[in-house]
Amino acid sequence: MDKIQNTYRVISNERLCAHFWRLTFDAPQLAQEVQPGQFVHIRTADGLEPLFRRPFSIYRAQRYVEILYEPIGPGTRLLAVKQKGDSLDVLGPLGTGFKMPPERTKQVVMIAGGIGVAPMLILTDILKKKKYELILLYGGRTRGHVYPMKEFKDSGVKVYISTDDGSVGSKGRVSVLFDKVHFNPLTTFIYTCGPNPMIKGVQEFAAKHNIGGQASCEEIMACGLGACLGCSIETKHGYRTVCYDGPAFDLEEVIFY
């Protein structure tokens, strides 16, 4: 009954590194409408296991729509076996994407943990049209969570990498990269996406240095449409749904425990 439910054809599904895959599908209308930070809700199973759709940020929308994903459970593993020509049941584009940086912004710092890097490329594609200094701080767990990130570099983004074990880039969490950047409270704007503890860390750092930003949050979802009120998170304005009011929120707005 929804305008946004469609079946699309898979164009390709390839492994980019040990842990990350990229799925490309043909959805011209979706590609045109999507805003950075919005997501698609994909039915991974034909039957009832797993029951729920799975949400994925849109990684890129050019001729085709791309998602970047990490097989970690039943739903994402079913995605990994999709092949060229298979059909894909997709709801989207869904949710409220990233706000654009305020007028005075000169430097945009994207801080991503693991698969949280996914919404940053479509964001880069929009932001590179303006004259921002673009920086990506990326924290992966291991070498297997790091892929070439050529698309970022080709777009003029300065990429800094950390891994927990130091196998690539600096050793430690993404926060070890903060001193690579000269943050400026007036002219820096942050975008962040990753596990909640990471976002919480970025939030504390940004608050201390008085820097504004946006965070893309996660919660388990059923409908993805704002109907079930199942994906609520706590914000300074009360409960808000990640799927409809978010996934992108003002960085200081989200409350973590």
Partner: protein, 325 residues
């Protein structure tokens, strides 16, 4: 081919509806032309005062089902009438308003406010309420076709749910029936020993129909932290996992009462819905499966239509309760 069904004096164009709490998303997403094909729409339960809902995590996926503990997040009856009802009315499908009071006074308060919706809109209330057929084009009805009492609410003296107590069920239904300008549907909880008895009590209280089932009390535990995965500790199980039990309960209630039954519990497609209708349901509602396949209610409707064609059934009433024993 006649697909229309009746509850009290209200005629619905077909028997397919949605379960409370599973439909109600933004207008910008849905295709109005398709939503208009539904027999009725049931919005999320409304309480007297606004409720913010339960702390996260509110939902958990289970084998062929889900646990939810949303906590009836809703804007309260005033907020609903002002902000939500006008949009639901625009759809142009009869509305069944699900309500819950934490005590009888709250139930009465909500119903009085809903009565006022038509009182304020109807120039000639008597006429529109007496007319046998619901007319969506007739705005004077306020779009409200019936009230559904969510009886999974506290039964204050007994520390149970109203829906777990025959006497409390009968009393609250009776109280609402004396004041409601709308037909009254009693929605039952499956967390009982004998659901037939509860249905009989609702009928004795004057209910115009019974809807069932609501969710089964359920849990899921994170073995790493040894804590419940649900913010509210327990939640309610729904989805295809509960369907066979729901079907048995619908049949049991159909055999116990004379009033129409609205059946739900894990319905995913027309075959599932037909099972419920053959077991005795006059209407069928799609709940959890809306989240998986937003087209499910329409698939159900289309599938029922083709089943009737294939089996040369002229009137849907030939299916209802046609189970052979």
């Amino acid at each position: 081919m006649n697909l229309s069904v009746k509850i009290a004096n209200v005629t619905f164009q077909n028997p397919v509806t949605v379960a409370s709490g599973t439909f109600g998303h933004a207008e910008k997403y849905y295709n109005l032309k398709e939503v208009r094909k539904l027999g009725a729409i049931v919005p999320k339960t409304v309480t007297f005062y606004p409720q913010v809902g339960n702390p996260p995590v509110r939902i958990w996926e289970t084998p062929s089902g889900m646990i939810n503990a949303i906590g009836i997040e809703n804007p309260g009856i005033d907020g609903f009438i002002q902000a939500k009802l006008p949009n639901f009315k625009k759809i142009g499908v009869p509305l069944i308003i699900s309500i819950l009071g934490h005590n009888p006074q709250e139930f009465v308060g909500i119903v009085e406010k809903l009565n006022n919706v038509i009182l304020s809109e109807a120039k000639d209330l008597k006429e529109s309420l007496d007319s046998s057929a619901y007319r969506p084009q007739n705005d004077r009805m306020g779009g409200i076709a019936a009230i559904e009492l969510n009886l999974s609410c506290p039964n204050l003296q007994h520390k149970t749910l109203v829906a777990q107590d025959t006497q409390a069920t009968q009393e609250i239904v009776k109280q609402i029936k004396t004041i409601s300008k709308f037909p009254v549907i009693a929605k039952l909880s499956p967390n009982v020993t004998d659901i037939g008895e509860i249905a009989l009590a609702a009928e004795a209280g004057g209910a115009d129909a019974i809807s069932l089932i609501n969710t089964f009390t359920a849990m899921s535990i994170d073995i790493k932290t040894r804590q419940s995965r649900i913010g509210n500790f327990t939640g309610g199980l729904s989805g295809p996992a509960i369907r066979p039990i729901a079907l048995a309960m619908v049949h049991q209630v159909y055999k116990s009462v004379k009033i129409p039954v609205i059946g739900m519990g894990g319905i995913a497609n027309a075959d599932d819905a037909l099972e419920f209708m053959i077991a005795g349901a006059t209407m069928v509602a799609v709940g959890t499966m809306n989240f998986v396949n937003p087209r499910a209610p329409l698939d159900v409707l289309e599938g029922i239509t083709s089943y009737m064609k294939e089996n040369k059934i002229a009137d849907i009433k030939e299916i209802i309760g046609s189970l052979k024993e």
